[in-house]
C-alpha cells in the first residue's frame, strides 16, 4: 500500500505488527478459562429440513475478539444470527441445544428478544444505513429503546458513538446530511456507531469489511482493535489474514460443525485438526 494513501488520522501501527500485541497474544489463556460472554451448548439449527449447524459447543470470551472462519455455507452467519435471534424472522426454522448470554439462555420462552438485541449489536456484511441523516442513524437505537432524555443528551450520545467508531472528525460538520452520501467505509463505520449507541455488550460482525477497499478495511480493523477493550466482539471473516490480525481467538467451522477453536496464534501456526490446517493453508475452501 502506498504510504501517501494513508490518511494522517490512521494509527501508525497495525495491530498485529505491534510488539505489544504479540506479547499479549502469547500470554492469552485458553478461551474456557476466561469469563465467557456467549456460550453455545450442543446448539443445532435447521432451515426447514436443511441442517445448518450441528451440535456447536463454543465459548466466546468477554472483551476479546473471536473470529469465525470456514468455507462458504459452513454456517458462520447462521451461528452469528442465532445469538441475537435474527433468524427468528425466517419461517420454518428450528433449533436444539442452547446459547446463553452471561449464563442466561437466549432461547428461554420468556426471553425479551428486543432486550436481547439491545445487548447484542450487529454489523452486517453490506453497510445498511437508513436513508436518513447521519445523526438520525445513530440516534435511532437510543430512540426506540428510550435510552436518553432530551436533545442535549442525545447529541452527546451521538457524538460519543461516532467518536468511538472513529468517524466523528469526518462527519461532524455534516451530521444532518444523508448517510447515503458517505463512502462505503464511512457507512460501515456509521453502522458500527449506530450499533454502539445502544451500548451493547456483544457486537456481532458478519464480514464487516468484505465490501471495502484496503484502506477502509484497515480502519475497521483498527476500530475493532480499539473496541475490544469494552466489548465482546464476534467477527465472521473470509479473510484469513484479517482473522489473524484482529482476533484473539479463532473458531473454525466446517459443514455446520465446529472443528476447532483456540487462540488465534496457535490455531494459525499449529492447528490441532488436519481439516483446519488444510483450510488455513489454502488446500481447500
Amino acid at each position: 500500500m502506498n504510504a501517501e494513501l494513508q490518511p494522517s488520522t490512521m494509527a501508525p501501527h497495525r495491530p498485529s505488527r505491534s510488539p505489544g500485541a504479540e506479547a499479549e497474544a502469547s500470554a492469552l489463556p485458553p478461551a474456557r478459562e476466561l469469563e465467557s460472554a456467549v456460550e453455545a451448548t450442543d446448539f443445532s439449527f435447521w432451515y426447514g429440513s436443511n441442517q445448518a449447524l450441528d451440535s456447536i459447543s463454543l465459548t466466546v470470551p468477554a472483551r476479546k475478539v473471536t473470529a469465525l472462519i470456514g468455507p462458504s455455507g459452513c454456517g458462520k452467519s447462521t451461528f452469528l444470527r442465532s445469538i441475537n435471534r435474527m433468524n427468528d424472522l425466517i419461517p420454518g426454522i428450528r433449533h436444539e441445544g442452547d446459547i446463553t448470554l452471561h449464563g442466561d439462555s437466549v432461547y428461554r420462552n420468556d426471553r425479551d428478544v428486543v432486550q436481547l438485541r439491545k445487548s447484542v449489536g450487529m454489523v452486517f456484511q453490506k453497510s445498511n444505513p437508513f436513508p436518513k441523516s447521519i445523526y438520525q442513524n445513530v440516534a435511532y437505537g437510543p430512540k426506540v429503546n428510550r435510552l436518553v432524555r432530551g436533545r442535549a443528551e442525545m447529541d452527546e450520545l451521538v457524538e460519543r458513538s461516532l467518536r468511538r467508531a472513529a468517524l466523528w472528525d469526518e462527519v461532524k460538520d455534516r451530521l444532518d446530511s444523508s448517510a447515503l452520501g458517505l463512502s462505503g467505509g464511512q457507512q460501515q463505520r456509521l453502522c458500527i456507531a449506530r450499533a454502539l449507541a445502544v451500548s451493547p455488550e456483544v457486537i456481532l460482525m458478519d464480514e464487516p469489511a468484505s465490501a471495502l477497499d484496503p484502506v477502509a478495511t484497515q480502519k475497521i480493523e483498527e476500530l475493532i482493535y480499539e473496541l475490544k477493550h469494552e466489548y465482546t466482539i464476534l467477527i465472521v471473516t473470509h479473510n484469513m489474514q484479517q482473522a489473524a490480525r484482529v482476533s484473539d481467538y479463532t473458531a473454525f467451522f466446517y459443514m455446520g460443525r465446529l472443528i476447532e477453536m483456540g487462540r488465534t496464534q496457535q490455531l494459525f501456526t499449529n492447528p490441532h485438526e488436519e481439516q483446519t490446517e488444510a483450510y488455513i493453508t489454502g488446500r481447500f475452501g
Binding site: Q115, R117, F124, K132
Partner: protein, 322 residues
Amino acid sequence: MANPADGGLMARLLPSRSKGNVQDQFYRLALLLFGVSIPLLFLFIVLRIGTEAWPAMEAFGWGFITGTEWNPVLREFGALPFIFGTVVSSVLALMIALPLSVGLAIFLTELAPRWLAAPIAFATELLAAIPSVVYGLWGIFVLVPWLRFTIQEPLSRHFGDVIPIFEGPAYGFSMMAGAVILSIMIIPFISAVTREVLTAVPRDQREAALALGATRWEMTWQVALPYALPGIIGGAILGLGRALGETMAITMVIGNRPDIAASLFAPGYTMASVLANEFAEATGALYLSALMEIALILFGITIVVNIFAQLLVWRVAKRGGR
C-alpha cells in the same frame, strides 16, 4: 461526462449509420415512431377538445369556472358545482381509502401468515376487476339505503344542527355515497402498490432496525413505511387519478344535482357524470361547447394532480437521500 450508457440521446434514438443491420435500423425507427406517437396523441386530444371548447370560453370567460348556476335551458352555464363535486368526492374517497389500503397492505405483508395473506390479497385484487356499473348497482341497492338509514339519519338527527357537514335531510344519494363507492373502487390500487413497495423494502433495512432493538411494530412504522413512502404516495395519487375520472358508479349514487352544499348528505354532481348524462342530449352549439370545456377542465385537473404527485415523490425521495 463520458458515460457510454448515455452517450448522446440522438445516437441512440436515430438509426445507426452502420449499414450492417437493416433489421436493427427498422426496429429502431419503429420504436421511435411508437415513442413519439404518444405525446402527439396527447397533443391532438388537447387541441381537439380545446377547439371544441373555444366558443364557450369566449362566451363565458372565467365566469364559466366561477359560475354556480347550470341551466342549459336558460343558457346558464356555470361549472363550479361539477368541479366541486369531482374534487370533493375524490379527495374524500382518498381520505377514506388511504388509511384502509395502507393498513391492509401492512397487515398482509408484515403480520398475516401466508395462508391468510394470499387469499385476502387475491380478493382485494378482484375488487379491481368488478365493472364500474356493477359497483353502481350495488351502490343503489345496498350502499345507499344502508348509508341513509344507518349512518346519515342518526347523524343528521343528533348533530345536523351543529355540524354543517351532517345537516339536512338524508337522501342516501349523496356526496357521501359517491365518496364511499369511489373509495372502495380505489382501495385495490392503493393497497396493491403499497404492498409491492413494502415487500420491496430491502431486508437489510428491516434487519438493521430489529438488530438495534426495535419491535416489529417500530420496524414497520419507522423504517419500512418511511422507506416505502414515495411509492405509497405514488399509489395514492394513482388512486386519486382514478377517482377523479370515474364515471359510471358515482353517477349512479351521487344524486346528480348541480349544487354546492356543505353537507355530506346532500346530492352532488361531478364533471364526469355531467358529461355522461348530458352529452348525448346536448342541443345547441354552445351547450356542447360548454360540456367540452368541462372535459378540458377535468383533463387539466388530472394532469395537475399527476404533476403535483410526481413533484411530491421526487421531493420525498430526495429528502430520503435516494
